[in-house]
């Protein structure tokens, strides 16, 4: 069953741009340009794209904050804007840069308030809170006013707040933005645990691809409002040239970077004593053999493809993709 459906979803904004001293020109910006997506129950979907690609706008349309300009969306079988309050009971939303918590009250109080806002039976609420407390280590700052929490602590609070009513779908807009490594690990570990249970659908936008690698089997890349990739991370690699790298450490620098068929030099480091080759059609053995005739090798290492590199290439050249 599809928990989320988007058909030709589109969102245009009219912005006024200064043109001359007094004149303002209206310009239409298409933030989301005909997105078709289906997300099944229990899926964990990574939704990524460069700044301004339309990620947050899509999420706002799915959560009932913004009305689509064209096309339609269904979440849990409901229309997000007309059925907003009914949908709100069935989804959880975490916006990384804005808060659902009460700034001046202890974290504990926000949770108690949300129980009333979402009309959650006391028993269910207590059970879910207990689970989040142990998985997210909330106990040490449960009585601290939210304004005094660190960003990492606050984000753990936000996650709890979004889950206390047992939502079927959890939307996360940049949940790890600005977090230190330890907090990122805690948040990812928690979301992975949530995904493993299999009954919560998770849609995650992020700039940190480690989030995706850790959590999402399915990756949707959006650029200029259009989906440019929808599939597994492995599919992304093979489609856009998953390139393993060979790093060769040499005793002495070569006069010029060597030309090896099927393995162009990507980078020259350490004053020419370290060369990085991208494996296009050549094998590791061919690169080693080719190099051995030219220089004395001290060390060889192989670097697996990096999703960031793949995505960076994708962002740069989206036009060729249908």
């Amino acid at each position: 069953m599809n928990v989320i459906e988007m058909n030709g979803l589109r969102k245009e904004f009219t912005v006024r741009v200064k043109a001359g001293r007094l004149r303002r020109e209206k310009r239409t910006v298409t933030a989301v340009d005909g997105v078709d997506l289906r997300v099944e129950r229990g899926e964990m979907l990574g939704y990524i794209g460069p700044n301004g690609a339309g990620k947050s706008t899509t999420l706002k349309m799915l959560t009932g904050v913004l009305t689509p300009s064209a096309g339609h969306a269904r979440v849990c079988g409901l229309r997000p804007v007309p059925d907003r309050t009914r949908l709100a009971l069935r989804i959880g939303v975490v916006f990384g840069q804005r808060s659902q918590l009460w700034w001046d009250l202890p974290l504990r109080d926000s949770f108690a308030l949300l129980r009333h806002v979402y009309r959650v039976p006391a028993g269910e609420h207590a059970a879910r809170l207990a689970r989040c407390r142990s998985l997210l280590d909330l106990d040490e700052f449960l009585d601290t006013p939210v304004r005094q929490l660190s960003l990492g602590q606050r984000m753990r609070g936000e996650l709890t707040a979004a889950l206390l009513h047992g939502p079927e779908v959890l939307f996360l807009d940049e949940p790890t933005i600005g977090l230190d490594v330890v907090s990122k690990q805690a948040v990812r570990g928690f979301l992975a645990e949530l995904g493993r249970a299999g009954d919560t659908t998770l849609v995650l936008t992020t700039h940190d691809l480690a989030d995706i690698e850790r959590l999402c089997r399915r990756l949707v890349v959006i650029d200029h409002g259009q989906v440019v990739h929808d599939g597994s991370i492995a599919a992304l690699h093979s489609r856009y040239g998953s390139r393993r790298m060979v790093v060769a450490e040499l005793d002495a620098a070569l006069p010029a970077p060597p030309v090896l068929p099927g393995a162009p030099v990507q980078r020259v480091e350490a004053d020419g004593r370290r060369l990085v080759f991208a494996l296009e059609s050549a094998s590791v053995a061919e690169v080693v053999a080719g190099l051995a005739g030219l220089a004395t090798l001290r060390d060889i290492s192989i670097v697996e493809p990096d999703i960031e590199e793949v995505v960076a290439r994708l962002y740069r050249a989206p036009a060729e993709v249908g």
Partner: protein, 273 residues
């Protein structure tokens, strides 16, 4: 959108939001007390202005001091109470900018009551209480010939005036959905309305009176109810029943505000700005 059976749940939710706001403000106890006292100043000033005026004249637009105080009392109480309950909606542009507005839209409650309750300025309570004191004093000392009808009007008219001002706050705030820097315009209508209703409309003249008193309906906030309470005929010649029309005018204003809010929110959702 309201479903049967969820009304009590919503009520409990709103009450919880109000409680949270009270506890949030109690977190800053000293500044709360200072604000409580300071906030009274504005309303005291309204009354002092009128007293000063009567220091130089015996009548104002054909009304004595005691009669005028009924007008002032109605206006002060109604404005201060509406300002307490919904005045903070003028901070709508800030709610939009900080994302509070989006946060409110992903919760299973109506947006407007949430915004009002989450930012209810309890420190303004002192003004409303002072306004009520002025109103009660004015009603007691004006020598009103009390009848059951007038007693009812003395209760209903202030409430209608509160609704009227509240509607005014909401309506003017929705302008900021279209035009973010509209705060000054909104203030000129709301605070201008308070000043306008502090005096008998007979002191104003011509088109100005026509527009504000009857075009926008400010005459029904304090002037006409005061006439009916005092048992005075309208010097401008309107029939006596007009004094009893304020609840109807308030309902119309509330309907306009509700419509403006709905249209404004729809505009926000379609532009996202």
């Amino acid at each position: 959108m309201a479903e049967p059976g969820t009304l009590t749940g919503s009520w409990r939710a709103y009450r919880a939001l109000l409680g949270a706001q009270a506890r949030s403000q109690a977190a800053y106890r000293t500044s709360f007390v200072v604000d409580l006292v300071g906030n009274m100043g504005a309303t005291v000033f309204d009354v002092v202005t009128v007293l000063v005026l009567f220091g130089v004249t015996r009548e104002l637009g054909g009304f004595t001091l005691r009669e005028t105080l009924v007008v002032v009392g109605l206006s002060s109480f109604a404005f201060a109470t509406a300002d307490l309950l919904v005045g903070n909606i003028e901070r709508l542009p800030r709610y939009v900018r900080t994302g509070l507005f989006d946060a409110v839209l992903v919760r299973p409650l109506a947006a407007l009551p949430q915004l009002l309750l989450m930012d209810l300025p309890l420190r303004k309570v002192s003004r409303a209480v002072f306004g009520l004191a002025v109103l009660v004093f004015a009603l007691v000392s004006a020598g009103i010939g009390w009848t059951p009808g007038r007693v009812a009007l003395a209760v209903v008219a202030p409430l209608a005036a509160v609704v009227f001002f509240a509607a005014l706050f909401v309506t003017t705030a929705t302008v900021s959905f279209y035009w973010v820097d509209s705060g000054e315009l909104a203030n000129s209508v709301t605070y201008g309305g308070r000043d306008f209703t502090s005096y008998p409309v007979t002191v104003y003249g011509g088109w100005f009176r026509a527009i504000f008193a009857y075009g926008l309906g400010f005459a029904f906030v304090s002037y006409h109810p005061a006439l009916a309470l005092l048992g005075r005929a309208d010097p401008l010649g309107l029939p006596a029943w007009v004094g009893w029309a304020s609840p109807g005018v308030a309902l119309v204003a509330a309907a306009v505000a509700a419509l403006a809010w709905r249209v404004g929110i729809r505009h926000y959702r379609s532009t996202g700005s």
